[in-house]
Symmetry: C2
Subunit: 217 residues, 2 copies
């Protein structure tokens, strides 16, 4: 499948590497097409990897991953709106407020009674936004089996059931077993999964090594 | 031990019943001492149970449980400040904003960059506030073993290490094994555990029966 991955940080890189390993064609999108991280990354892989602007990657992909920093996500996605119309946008970003110091918090207007996932969906009504993979270490997103044989939970939410089914298949490919993927309903579920970062940061401070959350029932 | 439990809802009732079962002397505190739920409750038990006003229960207890609705908690606790000075206050409440409809959200000034746990600690500087038991069904708080033999996580946080050690012992008595209690550091950790209600509500909507969260590592 042709996939556009927007963002060249730790999350984008983890996603890109896995998708290429699985045989997908990936274009990495960044602010301009001279992004060093993107070029370095493409150089490491075969012809399945390419890089371009956000716009080029958005046009290239049948499915788009949003791995852009939360604070820039809406503006960037709005700028490529036409290229991702009617496509699935897998949103992994978290609206962390980097304007404030520690302890990290969420952007006030994107938490509690709103979320980044919802804000993106509102701004791009013709795109199928599916929020997932945003409650765990980036190293676990594409390798869940490296922790307790994958026995932990990945949440998914979004307004379009067909889009979620497609994303679930891709998650299966990546290594998430069906029974570890919990569908929280519509995109409003992002309020819960994005706010989990506040708990995540404290668990991170209190434990050693990789961890994840599991819904026990 | 003499324990004051403020609040007569589902949480207060679960806590009361367990503490009495364990042989503690419990006074249930409510707005006035004609509270029907409190009187009914006391009638069911032996002389280890009694009821009174918030003030009487706060004076009675060596340790106090806050099971008051989040929106009223600070005002009630401030009104009994002198009676809980230098005591441990175990805070279980969540600052749910009941003034808005569904989906439920947190009181804006008590989330993200603040929390109810912190707000109580700021208002009662001479009380040792320990936040715990606020991320699960009330039925699991005092009976963790009824779900997967207790293999799920209870978070604890607070500024006073000695107070947390005392509360951990009480949690052990209630049924929480040491390895299931995760200390998230100071009271600022409440931001994470209180915000978990946003995720909790969505998991509740997506699953059947009792569930809980477990930190897998």
């Amino acid at each position: 499948m042709k996939i556009g991955v927007l963002g060249t940080g730790a999350v984008g890189t983890a996603i890109n590497s896995k998708l290429i390993e699985l045989g997908h064609q990936v274009m990495i999108g960044s602010r301009d097409n001279t992004n060093e991280k993107a070029i370095e990354f493409v150089d490491k892989f075969d012809s399945n990897a390419s890089s371009g602007t956000f716009e080029e990657a958005a046009s290239f992909g049948e499915i788009i991953f949003n791995c852009i920093k939360g604070e820039f996500a809406v503006a960037v996605l709005k700028s490529v709106e036409n290229s991702i119309q009617n496509k699935i946008l897998i949103d992994i970003s978290i609206p962390v407020d980097t304007s404030k110091g520690a302890p990290l918090s969420l952007i006030p207007e994107l938490c509690n009674t709103n979320s980044l996932g919802e804000e993106i969906q509102k701004n791009l009504p013709d795109t199928k936004v599916v929020k997932t993979l945003n409650t765990m270490w980036s190293t676990l997103m594409t390798a869940p089996g490296t922790l307790k044989n994958g026995d932990h939970t990945n949440f998914i939410c979004g307004n379009d059931d067909e889009a979620k089914a497609t994303v679930k298949s891709l998650l299966n490919e990546i290594g998430w077993k069906d029974e570890t993927i919990l569908d929280l309903g519509d995109i409003v579920g992002s309020r819960g999964t994005e706010a989990t970062v506040l708990l995540w940061l404290r668990i991170w401070g209190a434990t050693i090594g990789t961890f994840s959350l599991k819904v026990v029932n």
